[in-house]
């Protein structure tokens, strides 16, 4: 079993080893565009979970991109041959918004759909961004504004199951390049087939394509501007490929969830999808990778509202994994079953941050912004709220490990320091700025903590911790913590009139951090709600980085921007940390990850679907009752 205690202290994957892969890909070698190539001799890659629970199987697997059935890193420890068969029992999140991944705004739906639908590419290692082919067997990046996709031959749409039985579907036919082009053009247009306008979440991503040329089984994409991150977007979980005929038939009723509206080319056929009750799928015997998936089927039951039910379910082997927002609960249950279970540690892609609004007074005063940034005691929050399971993050979170500033550099960075004297210096500096900005005259300052965060038992104290931290730092009692629903925070966020708040926000789109940096910090980005306008120090280097084929050079540009952002108190976007969630599994279940006991950070739904396996010969398997999947 992995020693989880030291998990977050391990050495990270060296940038050199990751960038080496990217350089090869950038040179245009088909099938080798590896932005973050996992190095065999460096098993230290950092991990994490899905986007706050998009995939009930949580932690996922490495494997060699799903092509070599004999190489299966397993969470249970040791190199073992994967055993085919078995039914995975998990729980599912309750809220599903769409059967159409393109129209979905919530990751749980996409987590289900990714079992049935493939993407153009997928991540072999989401932590680093290493890609492998999915529907495109190979791809080339001849320049920063060109991508060529070569379709995998012999891929067929599901020919059985509820989706195949839908009269609108064409089951069992071959996938064509036209299918892929249809999926892309549909999202570019922002309309249904009948011309009705709608909203596709990744429309702006696909609009980066200026022109597409189709020949035989290849697609050549020309981008509107150089963007070397574009290729990673092809592996984004939302960018799934669905059958056009069925899409047209169900697109206007996308929010009415039903298994007969899903038809893909992926590893599983969805046989039942009843929100709030049950989701079931069986192995697709015609999947293009005949060795995958290992499991015969999966059954996701109703999510447990209460940890007690979840614990009963896990201890009696009705479900295979357990995780609780309070890591101490998970760890204590593991300790009680130490011989038969293990913990898999995954970083969580929900970035925890405090936000101030520079569009309104008094937060438009840079001194105040800097004072707040310096006074947040990030490391203490990790200790208090997560039992020490977490790592501080800067503008690029540590989850995007190829692009984040080195962890060691945070040890002596203002606002992040680890030593007591340094922390005292930060507080003294914060106080000076607070006084100079007229902080004492600001009256009561309410700091909102998202209620979905604060309602969790171990985090109920968060409003007091946040407000208390500021009060202590500024030697005042002006700060007052209160809770507020995301339902209120999000509209005010998008409208740009939000109150200061503390929350987790899944702000990572792909492992290549350049795309997210552009989204949040470039002056003309619609998501730059802080109104950051630094043409020379941010816009220019980020634009250059986006076109830079040399990843070492690109990293230096991005690192420079990060340093500048940190110097300026993060412009009100006070990124604090990303925490680590332990998942508890019986030894018979082999989760996947970059190393034993480690899970992926995000975008791992495809990997879990392919590479998890169950060992019926493991002693812990005794007493497990296999759930019954819904047959085709």
């Amino acid at each position: 079993m992995a020693d989880g205690r030291n998990y977050w202290q391990r050495r990270r994957l060296s940038r050199r080893s990751m960038l080496r892969g990217a350089a090869v890909g950038s040179a245009g070698v088909a099938g080798a565009v590896l932005i973050g190539c996992g190095d065999d001799d460096d098993p230290t890659a950092t991990p994490t979970n899905g986007n706050g629970g998009d995939d009930p199987t949580a932690t996922a697997t490495a494997g060699n991109g799903g092509t070599d059935p004999t190489a299966t890193p397993d969470g249970g420890g040791g190199d073992m041959m994967a055993v085919a068969g078995g039914v995975r029992s998990a729980i599912s999140a309750n809220v599903y918004d769409s059967v159409d991944a393109h129209q979905s705004v919530a990751s749980p739906s996409v987590g289900v759909l990714s079992r049935a639908q493939s993407k153009i590419l997928r991540f072999a290692n989401p932590n680093t961004g290493e890609l492998v082919g999915d529907l495109a067997e190979t791809w080339e990046v001849p320049s920063a504004s060109e991508v060529v996709l070569n379709l995998r031959p012999g891929v067929k749409w599901h020919d059985v199951g509820p989706g195949a039985e839908n009269p609108a579907a064409s089951p069992g036919r071959d996938l064509t390049v036209e299918d892929i082009v249809y999926n892309i053009e549909r999202q570019q247009s922002g309309t249904y087939a009948d011309g009705t306008e709608t909203s596709f979440g990744r429309s702006s991503y696909w609009q980066k394509i200026a022109n597409m040329e189709v020949s035989d089984n290849a697609i050549r994409m020309e981008l509107t501007a150089p963007d070397v991150t574009f290729v990673q977007g092809l592996a984004n979980e939302f960018n799934q490929i669905a059958q056009p005929e069925l899409l047209e038939a169900v697109e206007s009723t996308f929010s009415e969830i039903s298994a007969d509206k899903v038809l893909g080319t992926g590893p599983y056929i969805i046989t039942e999808w009843i929100p709030g009750e049950r989701i079931s799928g069986v192995r697709n015997p015609a999947y293009y990778d005949s060795a995958r998936p290992y499991l015969d089927a999966f059954v996701w039951g109703q999510a447990f509202e209460d940890p007690t039910a979840y614990r009963i379910g896990w201890e009696q082997k009705q479900v295979d994994t357990f995780t609780d927002p309070d890591p101490t609960t998970t760890q204590s249950i593991q300790a009680a079953n130490a011989d038969e279970s293990y913990l898999s540690f995954s970083g969580v892609a929900n970035t925890v941050a405090a936000y101030t609004n520079p569009n309104v007074e008094p937060w438009n005063d840079p001194r105040l912004v800097k004072a707040i940034d310096l006074s947040i005691n990030r490391r203490q929050l990790i200790q208090q709220l997560h039992n020490g399971l977490g790592k501080v993050s800067g503008p690029v979170t540590w989850l995007q490990e190829a692009w984040a500033l080195p962890e060691e550099s945070f040890e002596n960075r203002p606002g992040y320091r680890t030593d007591g004297a340094g922390r005292e210096d930060d507080i003294a500096e914060a106080n000076k700025l607070w006084q100079a900005a007229g902080g004492p005259d600001l009256g009561t300052i309410d700091w909102v903590v998202a209620e979905t965060w604060a309602s969790r038992s171990s985090w109920t104290i968060t409003p007091e911790l946040i407000a208390g931290g500021f009060n202590d730092a500024f030697q005042t009692d002006q700060f007052r913590g209160k809770t507020g629903p995301y339902g209120e925070i999000i509209p005010s966020w998008s409208a740009g009139n939000f109150e200061p708040f503390f929350a987790w926000i899944p702000n990572i789109e792909i492992p290549d951090a350049r795309a997210d940096m552009i989204t949040y910090y470039k002056s003309d980005s619609p998501s730059n709600i802080w109104g950051i306008n630094e043409p020379d120090r941010i816009d220019a280097p980020l634009t250059a980085a986006l076109a830079e084929l040399d990843d070492e050079a690109a990293f230096e540009l991005v690192a420079g921007v990060q340093e500048f952002i940190l110097e300026n108190g993060q412009f009100g976007r006070h990124i604090a940390y990303n925490y680590i969630a332990p998942t508890l599994a019986w030894n018979y279940l082999h989760l996947t990850g970059p190393a034993p006991g480690e899970g992926w950070n995000f975008l791992s739904g495809s990997l879990g679907a392919l590479d998890e396996w169950i060992d019926p010969n493991d002693p812990s398997f005794d007493g497990r009752e296999s759930p019954t999947p819904t047959p085709v």
Binding site: S255, F304, E305, D306, Q316, E488, I490
Partner: protein, 319 residues
Amino acid sequence: MAQYAIRRVVLNFFVLWLVATLVFLAIRVLPGNYATQQFAGLNLGGVTPEAIAQAERTLGLDKSIPEQYVEFMTDTITLDLGESFRTKQSVWSELGDALPYSLELGMLVVLVGFSVAIPVGVISAVKQDRLPDYALRGLAITALAAPVFWTASIAVIFVLKWDLFKIDVANQPHLWEDPKGAIQWYLIPMFAGGFASTASTMRLLRSELLEVLRQDYVRTARAKGLAERTVIIRHAMRNAFLPVLTVMGLTFATLISSQIVLESMFNIPGVGRMLFQSIFIRDYPLFQGLVIITTFVIVFTNLAVDLLYGFMDPRVRLS
């Protein structure tokens, strides 16, 4: 009596209208709605006012509050309670799925509660101020003080530690599908819930019985030479039981929708948990529908209990 019943029925419908209006407004007073709640798990880079507006349009939340109210009341009068935002199933269908679970649990809780409360209440009254009375009252106070989640949690720990029986939280069997599995699943919640409800009923029965036992007609019955058992069961209990009957009726009605804690702890997909979840995710139609139906059940159970009074007590019938 018939006039009384008609008057009460009319009054009940007024109460239903009032409750419907209040729940319609109350859920909308809460910040946010179902559409915006969906964005909580999303990369905020992708959240735009347009995306929120489209989600609201899909759910009919773009209409004004008065428009929504008129639509809601019109539909409610025709017994159309709408569709759940989350599942797109009709509220009736959702209730149809959840109600059997709540009825099963409710009946078992009431069964356990009254099976314990009635004999204990009688013994406590008959043995007033003696050791059994003190012991049973102490037990009642303990039951009253112990929260159900605590009692249930302790029981769960023992069951898991010694692997006593399977608590089927994953498959959620009904009593008629898998009686053994269902009883095992309900065992802890029914005893935890029943134990908690025992206390108030037992104390009520005891005090009523003590009062009745002091009545002249009881003395007369004893003077006639009737056996003590007959005096208590045939004469005293019938009168002492009237307020207990009221409590029983209301307890059962409220149990249907109030077992939020136990339903959550044991993954029982009943009405209470559904109600709680509908508030949390702002599923307006589901919340409104469940509250209206629950109110209907409670007010008409109350009416039925009042009418039963008349049946059991001729004085009420004649008045």
